[in-house]
């Protein structure tokens, strides 16, 4: 153990403040198991009843060269005894498993924050790989923070020695040693973790026992207080929460469950066509295990085949669903146009990532709003919904299914890399409370004089859905413009005008089925509205809450429906003197709002691949208020 000389007073170091919320970041090499450590710490946090939000941040490379800064994988969790909306701006505690992890992450740590570093990994070679000239654990360069340097590698090796593992396998247990220490720090029960390890390594009991031993050793290390005054144990009271059953859920899980629920509420089998792409693949993985719910999954040869098969399945009477991320969504655009033209239900999930092109595959961004709303050739209107959090994605997926089948239209559900990967507690919904929206396939036989037309429409302008196999109703559909009345090919000018108008009116009409836009913090009218969508909900909400607690006249409006927009949104926006729109792109919703309502919406943009910090939005609010 080494302790840096630091600038903190002894009082500061000894002070045992009881925080309401703590931000911990686990950082290590991408092979160190940091995502796993973070995931298990999240579970134990949830089981302790704290509210939480997480931010997994990992490189695009599966195993980047060991010890390098670009191979650093991190997992941040913000948890506390009050409501938690974001993964936290700056960590209170940084666990750094090697010099590269320290180098990449230490700058984010709060002044006076705690660094726990594995000094066993701070040899000359690793220091050089991370670009350190000296050893930061010894040269005083970390004096702004509190430092606990432990030889976690050696402590782990000593612990697992009796289990006869090779050196490499033994070192793999060090993330469990670290997790054990973290569990002690926050007064957590180890039993669920022990149970989890036994299940995970059921086929290799010696690995299970070695990992459990490491976990216990880390915990015992904290308990025996060998670290003296540096390390305190904190107990955070459970966060206030409505009574009921809770679980943790990631966005990818919530979307998968929501799609299954949506198909069930529609009374349809679901067909999911997907192609592997980061960060959307997890949805394909989840759904492929749910076959008993009438789910067929198909890993297609490419993104186009994925959406093509989903449209084909919808045509044949299933609820077709496809999912991808930006570049894959771009490939699917032509087929979306066909679904719009053929007026078939389809749900397209877009887990947005940094772009353009391959961009930042594992980082988050909201830069596909234009692609969703304005994409595709021709005038091709399509409803667009955006989820604000992992838990919210469940309801959004159900809503996407509802609109798709009730309006016979493709619907795009926007999430992002942050929502897809992040976990949060989720109050398990009571499925009996969800209103079913059963689909009725059309099968009325045409009369002698009137032939059947596939473009017969209901009051919502939705066309009939006829399953192939239905006698007497054989018909042809396709991407070529069809006659409004007969459904036959028709290029006539007046007909194309009418069909274009009808397609646009149908999609705009979706707004009739939407609730009015509400103000989620503050009231209607006032000095400033902060308008957001998608995963920026958390930081915007906290920033507005803080500004309001300082007495500022500011409101938070969060949009779930991006297209069509809620009917009252225009008048609502005009009731504020100023409007700012924070989003993780160069100002896409801002453009949409200006276009639709001629309001002076000002952009607050960020395209770093990282979520907004609360402080950044607070600063934007202060600036807007002048």
């Amino acid at each position: 153990m080494a302790t840096a000389t630091h600038l903190l007073t002894p009082e500061e170091a000894e002070a045992d403040v009881r925080p309401e919320a703590v931000v911990v970041r686990f950082a290590g090499d991408s092979g160190d198991g940091m995502q796993l450590t973070g995931g298990q710490f999240t579970l134990s946090t949830a089981l302790a009843g704290n509210d939480l939000a997480t931010f997994p941040d990992f490189p695009a490379e599966i195993r980047a060269p060991q010890g390098t800064t670009f191979g650093v994988s991190a997992f941040q969790i913000n948890f506390g005894s009050t409501a938690i909306d974001t993964a936290g701006d700056a960590p209170d505690v940084l666990v750094a498993m090697n010099p590269a992890a320290l180098k990449v992450n230490v700058g984010d740590l709060k002044p006076g924050g705690l660094i726990i570093a594995d000094e066993g990994e701070f040899g000359a070679r690793n220091l050089a790989k991370a670009g350190y000239e000296g050893n930061p654990l010894e040269d005083g360069s970390l004096a702004r923070w509190r430092l606990i340097a432990l030889n976690i590698s050696q402590l782990t090796l000593d612990t697992v020695k009796p289990f006869g593992l090779g050196n490499k396998e033994a070192l793999r247990c060090k993330n469990m040693w670290t997790l054990g220490l973290a569990l002690w720090m926050f007064d957590r029960d180890r039993a669920p973790l022990v149970e989890w390890l036994r299940t995970k390594f059921a086929k290799a009991p010696e690995l299970a026992e070695a990992n459990i031993a490491a976990l216990n050793a880390g915990h015992a290390y904290g308990e025996t207080a060998e670290i003296g005054g540096q390390l305190h144990q904190h107990h955070l009271e459970p966060a206030p929460a409505a009574p009921g059953l809770y679980r943790t859920v990631t966005g990818a899980e919530a979307i998968s469950l929501g799609l299954v629920a949506g198909a069930q509420l529609a009374g349809l089998p679901m067909f999911f066509g997907g192609y592997p792409i980061t960060p959307a693949s997890a949805i394909l993985h989840h759904l492929s295990r749910l076959k008993e719910y009438g789910v067929t999954t198909f890993q297609a040869e490419d993104e186009i085949a994925a959406i093509g098969s989903a449209i084909g399945a919808s045509y044949a009477g299933s609820l077709g669903v496809t999912s991808s991320s930006g570049p894959g969504i771009a490939l699917k655009m032509e087929a979306m146009g066909l679904a719009i033209m053929a007026e078939l239900p389809l749900v397209i999930v877009n887990s947005q990532r940094g772009g353009p092109s391959t961009g930042l595959p594992t980082k988050t961004e909201q830069s596909d709003l234009y692609q969703a709303v304005y994409g595709r050739n021709g005038d091709a209107p399509m409803p667009v919904i955006a989820a604000r959090s992992p838990a919210d994605a469940f309801d959004c997926a159900i809503e996407a299914c509802r609109i798709a089948v009730q309006y016979m239209t493709p619907v795009m559900l926007l999430t992002d890399g942050y929502i897809a990967n992040a976990a949060e507690p989720w109050k398990v919904p009571d499925m009996a409370q969800y209103q079913p929206f059963p689909v009725e396939f059309y099968d009325e036989q045409p009369s002698e004089e009137a032939t059947f037309s596939p473009y017969r429409r209901d009051g919502k302008l939705a066309r009939v859905w006829v399953k192939p196999g239905t006698p007497g109703l054989t018909h042809r559909i396709g991407g070529i413009e069809k006659n409004f009345a007969t459904g036959h090919i028709d290029y006539a000018p007046a007909n194309h005008q009418k069909m274009s108008d009808t397609r646009a009116a149908k999609v705009l009409g979706v707004a009739d089925s939407l609730p009015e836009q509400d103000v989620c913090l503050g009231g209607e009218g006032g000095k400033l509205a902060v308008v957001g969508w998608g995963s920026t909900f958390g930081p915007i909400h906290q920033a507005v809450r803080r500004a309001r607690s300082r007495g500022e006249d500011v409101a938070h409006i969060h949009l779930r429906h991006i297209w069509p927009l809620p009917k009252n949104l225009g008048s609502l926006l005009r009731s504020y003197e100023r409007i700012i729109v924070p989003e993780m792109n160069t100002g896409q919703l801002k453009t949409l709002l200006r276009d639709q309502y001629l309001v002076d919406a000002r952009p607050v943009t960020k395209t770093s691949g990282q979520p907004f910090k609360i402080a950044e939005i607070e600063a934007a609010i202060e600036e807007a208020l002048g």
Partner: protein, 341 residues
Amino acid sequence: MNELTKLTAKDFATDQEVRWCPGCGDYAVLKAVQRTMPELGVRPENVVFVSGIGCSSRFPYYMETYGFHTIHGRAPTFATGIKLANPDLDVWIITGDGDALSIGGNHTMHVLRRNLDCQILLFNNEIYGLTKGQYSPTSRVGTRSPSTPFGSVDRPASPSAFALGSGARFVARGIDVHKNLPDVLKAAHAHKGAAFVEIYQNCIVYNDDVFAPFTAKENAGNQLWLKAGEPMLFAGGTKGLALNAEHLSLRIVEVEGGDWQAAGVLVHEPPNRSIAHMLVEMPLGGGWPTALGVLYEDPAPTFETAVVRQNAEASAGKTPDLQALVSKGQSWMVAKEPHAI
């Protein structure tokens, strides 16, 4: 329509005016398909024609069945979704040389290797007709077209060789106007799995008579119609194909007085994949015949059957319970009433 009604070709024709150029080979194929359908014992409502983009892809509009005219090259993807969603449907894919081998080459390969139960009719006219005559991936070297005024320089793809190479379990060939086409279509329909049929189709406007070296009346001797268990004879039975065992290749042999055994002429065995590869690779001209009929057939389990079976096995003994599903995983109860923050 009740089950007792005997359907005719007319029952499979729509009231839509057919819009191909006068004299197009597509008319003959359409007639052949409409004539064949009543003999297949299928109900029109259980049949779906799926097409991509191109002249041939207008085909579904003229069939009084269900039809989906999709996007360029992607018909196999829609067909896959249709068949997986409802394996009872009889799915036909209509495509062309540009649609199936250029823009949609990837999907053609995968629908064949997966062995989706469907019929794939590839209308090969060695040209892009609907876009006014550019050379296609099957055009021969030197094809002059608006985009290749000095002649094309790239080597063409052979549709049937592509299909075999992709793992197709049924490969057949026909000619648009030939009387044997319905038999080829029937064989394709009888095959359980992806049945690939290359139809030599004459484009009267942009590539007229390109297949005349074996389709013209005077060149009919260059047609080798394959039949299971029968010798591979052509030129009125005066020539045949034999195996050059030393070089593992085909050779043309003269047949004297009908004694094909003496000439060593091969007997057609549809499951023989090696011979099938040689048959599809025979060059055009140079005395070589064009192999027609069912070149290769060796059924294998189909994709949709495997998917349905796995779905059933994975679901066996499980009761879908949405409430239980959303409650899964590590969960915890919050019992007390909420308190103010």
